[in-house]
């Protein structure tokens, strides 16, 4: 029963996703489409953290480290190779590998949850500080200048089979949306696999998972690496959306926003963080256009209010409202049925079975 409902939900999401993917470029302005590509990149960052933290229980404050790493790896490789397809693959590999190395260090060291958050935050800050000071001409990889706090240029994605052809904004949007859908459903599949189920079990009770014979460290490492790869994909898309990669991708604001998306959208869902990212992106863009409210103030208040009032996020809250109303319908249906049953019973004149 539950599985059927889940499949219906997933099909609905797929249909909506495809409609948006192919329909949006015809309906929205070019500028909005380009902005949406950046938003999609951020949504992928949110998805990766929703997977790693929401499902895996790994409190990573520095998911931006892999996000930014993917962006920088893409930009540098694309500048050096002259073609972008290889750069994309290397970027994803860089994100996943870096996550694997950091993960090995943290999980096999059995570092506790809170300290995990600290270390990951520290790592993204290290990268931020390091890259900001690479302004001089001596800081370069291959032919790509790192550029310090101004960052470096991100060559636009090319058509994979022809390095001369670059993707137009609409085509870039198709690719981005396609990547988002692919990663989303990939994560859905992963969660339902045995690997995913064990990760959830580890989140619920690591001691018991280990006593069942599962090596929690390996599962966490695997999930964390996959999350790093997905975040890197987001980085590649944001690099394309903005056109440049800067150290700001590693900074506290983005790191905080990633956490906010997951909190607002909901821990324990994959759709929630994605929607949360789009929502907050729209909110900050709108806030940026007016000077009444300072965006940091609003973001901070949103975070505080959600932690205090809706600690599980929006999507689960909406879900539980739906469940309550469904239960009310069910119980009303049951009451109607039992009334009819009693009526039939009485009219048939049957006696009670003792």
């Amino acid at each position: 029963m539950k599985l059927k409902r889940d499949i219906v939900g997933l099909v609905v999401i797929a249909i909506i996703g495809l409609v948006v993917m192919f329909g949006a470029p015809h309906v929205l302005q070019l500028f909005t489409i380009i902005n949406l590509t950046t938003a999609i990149g951020l949504a992928l960052l949110a998805l990766s953290l929703g997977l790693v933290w929401g499902y895996g229980g790994i409190l990573c404050f520095g998911q931006t480290a892999f996000f930014g790493m993917g962006a920088y790896a893409y930009a540098i490789c694309a500048q050096n190779f002259g073609q972008t397809s290889g750069a994309v693959i290397i970027a994803i590999g860089a994100g996943a590998t870096f996550a694997a190395m950091l993960g090995y260090f943290m999980f096999f060291g059995r570092i506790s949850e809170v300290y995990l958050g600290v270390i990951t935050l520290t790592v993204t800050l290290i990268l931020f500080n390091l890259l900001r000071r690479t302004s001089g001409p001596e800081y370069k990889i291959g032919s790509a200048l790192l550029g310090g706090f101004n960052g470096t240029n991100a060559p636009p994605l090319q058509v994979p089979w022809d390095a001369q052809l670059m993707l137009f904004p609409q085509q870039l949007f198709y690719v981005s949306m396609g990547a988002l859908l692919l990663c989303y459903f990939g994560c859905v599949w992963l969660i339902r696999s045995q690997f995913g189920q064990v990760c959830v079990a580890i989140r619920e009770n690591e001691v018991r998972a280990e006593l069942l014979g599962y090596d929690a460290r390996l599962y966490k490492l695997g999930l964390f690496s996959i999350g790093g790869g997905i975040a890197a994909v987001g980085g590649v898309l944001v690099a394309n959306g903005i056109g440049r990669v800067t150290p700001d991708l590693f900074n506290l604001t983005y790191a905080a926003q990633a956490i906010i998306w997951v909190i607002v959208g909901g821990r324990g869902t994959l759709l929630g963080p994605v929607l949360g990212a789009f929502g907050v992106f729209w909110l900050t863009s709108w806030l940026g256009t007016q000077s009444y409210f300072n965006s940091n103030m609003v973001l901070g208040l949103v975070l505080i209010l959600f932690v205090l009032l809706l600690p599980r996020g929006l999507v689960p809250a909406i879900g539980s409202i739906a469940k309550v109303s469904q239960q009310r319908t069910v119980s009303r249906r049951d009451r109607m049925r039992s009334r009819r049953r009693v009526a039939r019973f009485e009219t048939s004149g049957a006696t009670d079975a003792t």
């Binding site: 570092i111 506790s112 949850e113 520290t122 290290i126 500080n129 000071r133 103030m297 975070l303």
Partner: protein, 289 residues
């Protein structure tokens, strides 16, 4: 010889800086297991208090040593009553809520004062000559202040009734409550004290670092790392972590420059946490304050 003295002073200052910046956070973390991610902003508010006060003509020493801690301490008490109080025991939620608070404070200060400060203040003590080398007299003052602050907090915790109550609550809050201690008041006072010290630190560092709404970000990472690496013993932890990490930072900075120095500091912290996951005082000096 003079060069060595000047160098040692530099190193000592580096350590004192970390210790000073981290102490407020350490008090709150050590006593209440609350990690206040808005700590950097409390430092920032201390700096702003000093700037505003001096602009109004108040003597800089009073502004730094009395006004800043009072103002930020009061803000801390308000924050504890309005926000932190509801999140005790929820470590992750406290982290997130204080992060939200940090964003909020940055936004609020930017909205009120604008993204840059109107004036900067100069250090009230000028350079001092140490033989052939000039060194910052103000840095010397800061070293002395840090030592005095640590001694003061130690004295309070060790020798006063308030300190004893606080330590008891910190170790076994349920027992303290049974004995009639109002744990909520102790927490409020502790958070207030930690905030006040943060305000003091931010105030005295204002002449050196400058005061902008985002200055908190440069403090928080180092404070965080110092406190976590130190472990739960407030004074011993902060002092030992500041000593180790600060020394690492200073040495590498002297050899290669500030960029790698900072990387070395952060890298050393990671290694430290890997080797001693509960911080330095999780393994050594465990019974100390």
């Amino acid at each position: 010889m003079d060069f060595l003295a000047a160098l040692i002073l530099q190193f000592a200052y580096g350590i004192a800086n970390l210790a000073l910046v981290g102490l407020g956070l350490a008090i709150i973390f050590g006593m209440m297991r609350v990690i206040n991610l808005a700590h950097g902003e409390f430092l920032m508010l201390g700096g702003y208090t000093v700037v505003v006060a001096t602009n109004l003509g108040i003597n800089i020493w009073i502004a730094m040593l009395i006004l800043a801690p009072l103002v930020v301490g009061a803000i801390g008490v308000v924050v504890e009553r309005v926000l932190i109080r509801f999140l005790y025991g929820r470590v992750v939620d406290t982290l997130l809520a204080t992060w939200g608070l940090s964003l909020f404070l940055i936004g609020a200060v930017t909205a009120i004062f604008g993204p840059q400060t109107a004036t900067t203040i100069s250090a009230p003590i000028g350079p001092i000559a140490v033989g052939d080398y000039g060194t910052s007299g103000y840095e010397l003052f800061l070293i002395v202040l840090t030592v005095a602050l640590f001694s003061g907090v130690f004295a309070i915790l060790r020798y006063t009734k308030l300190g004893l109550l606080a330590r008891g609550t910190m170790q076994r809050s349920d027992m303290a409550a049974v004995l009639g201690v109002s744990t909520s008041q102790v927490y409020m006072a502790t958070f207030g004290l930690g905030s006040a010290i943060a305000g003091l630190a931010g105030g005295v560092l204002a002449p050196i670092t400058g005061v902008v709404p985002t200055i908190g970000a440069t403090y928080i990472a180092k404070a965080f790392i110092t406190v976590i690496s130190g472990g739960t013993a407030i004074l011993a932890g902060t002092a030992s972590a500041a000593g180790l990490l600060g020394a690492m930072n200073s040495i590498v900075t002297y050899l290669t420059g500030p960029t790698l120095g900072e990387v070395a500091l952060l890298g050393a912290a990671i290694v430290l946490l890997r080797v001693m996951p509960s911080g330095i005082t999780g393994r050594f000096f465990r019974k100390s304050l």
